[in-house]
Subunit: 312 residues, 2 copies
Amino acid sequence: MKIIAYAEAGHTALGVVTSATHFVAVADIAPDLPASLIAILEQEDGLARLQKAAQGREGDRLLASVTLKPFLDRPNAMWALALNFKSHIAETGLQTSMEFPHLFMRTAASYVGGGEPIVAPPEAIARAFDYEGELAVVIGKPGRYIPVEQAMEHVAGYTCLNEGSVREYQMHNRQFGLGKNFEASGSYGPWLMTGDEFGDPATHTVVTRVNGVVRQRAPLDDMLLDVARVISYLSQGYRLRPGDLIAMGTPGALKPQPDDKEGQDLSRQYGPFPTPGLVHMRPGDCVEVEIDGLGVLRNPVTTDTSYSTSAR
Amino acid sequence: MKIIAYAEAGHTALGVVTSATHFVAVADIAPDLPASLIAILEQEDGLARLQKAAQGREGDRLLASVTLKPFLDRPNAMWALALNFKSHIAETGLQTSMEFPHLFMRTAASYVGGGEPIVAPPEAIARAFDYEGELAVVIGKPGRYIPVEQAMEHVAGYTCLNEGSVREYQMHNRQFGLGKNFEASGSYGPWLMTGDEFGDPATHTVVTRVNGVVRQRAPLDDMLLDVARVISYLSQGYRLRPGDLIAMGTPGALKPQPDDKEGQDLSRQYGPFPTPGLVHMRPGDCVEVEIDGLGVLRNPVTTDTSYSTSAR
């Protein structure tokens, strides 16, 4: 099952995708379920009831006719992992623990949904605005002290995520802080795919494209610590809650092709680790994160027009 | 004005403190205002309306008869600063930027309210569970690209905060991650004091006591970066929202008195920086964070009893 959130008459509604082009509104097929995905996940049988209600339904609404939104309203925690792909650890040359996940947090306001514009910082503020294509996991069943062997039972599903990062701010101090939390700097979507449909993350591949050029491609089994290990670790500290999101880390950059001038031009990189094949996100770009079997998260990049009119 | 949140019949209600012992319920004096403090702050005149409604009221409820709760329901961001007091930078010997705040985030679930028990991790998981007495700022008026000179206009008020930290987990990797986010490991309260009543933070002092012994005491002008600087910095990255909380950092430990055996015993410290005068929080302790003119945040320390009964 693929669950979307979309804008409708000033609020956010939920839907279930029924084909490549269509969906049904949750309010139509299961009017007794809450209008919030987290509230559905909080009901022990919420997902199962939705799955049953959606079974065999033909979609009566066009995906192309709605604006997708982030499907998690005010989650308790939105985690992200740094340096969890061996190829990314290698390209940065940075140290990370081989045993414990390298965890930091983002706000809900730092993410937009599939198709919505990602917002680049004004150039006067920062220029090293980077995509990070990732798999993200959403918690369904709550729990504390979860053994690794039981961790996957706590997964509701998966989504594609662009963990957009402002490198200058990330490097202002030792904690990443604000550099990972610029307004609308990242995205996730286009939908939540339930775990039963997605299967084992390790058998999938994540690909990131900028304006159609593939910039990242990595099998998800290149992770240093897998989904089960990270869930088990987090549950040592707190009770995982329905809707908690974990972005599993990004792979390294692909080497640029011989005719790829932009990917070879390190002089246009403003971050701390100029890397062949890395390009920054700039207004006018289109960035895609695709995970095979899951879908494509596609976002145009814009910039913050409120800046120039602000008092400085 | 001092605003509290308290448990009532299974939900959280708001009140305004009228004396050392009494308060009035917001629902009684301003039934048209929302039951959420963030929702009140989101109304441009919300705080002013509450202040007017509370004026001259005599409290008809006893503070001692209710359980205080955290007064921010699902805030967008709960920031905290590392290494922002010169005395704390000196005792750790750690590097931090002199120019940019050292920012990380916590979840709402990591905090309890005044009087509620703070939960120490099970000993088998971690032992270096430390208090951090702090001033916290709550944003009222939203804004982006806020100049330093205008930053204080965006403050709704202040509260005392214990930024309880699990040092072993904080040191698992370079980002603090889970070590700053154990369930119910910190607290804030007992109330939000509005900025007009609190005045200039720099003229106040924060004191932390464990079982009556003073362990931290520092003037709030010992901060490396003050409230206005931090607000202005954060607003470069995102639109500050009503209810966003910023914990301004903790001072160093006071040198132990000659007869203070516990404070001198470094062999009972399990953290990375054994420090004379530092003691860990343990079940049975009572920890207080006091800011003069604001109030006392007092929490008993307990431990997580669900651990031993869990499957391991």
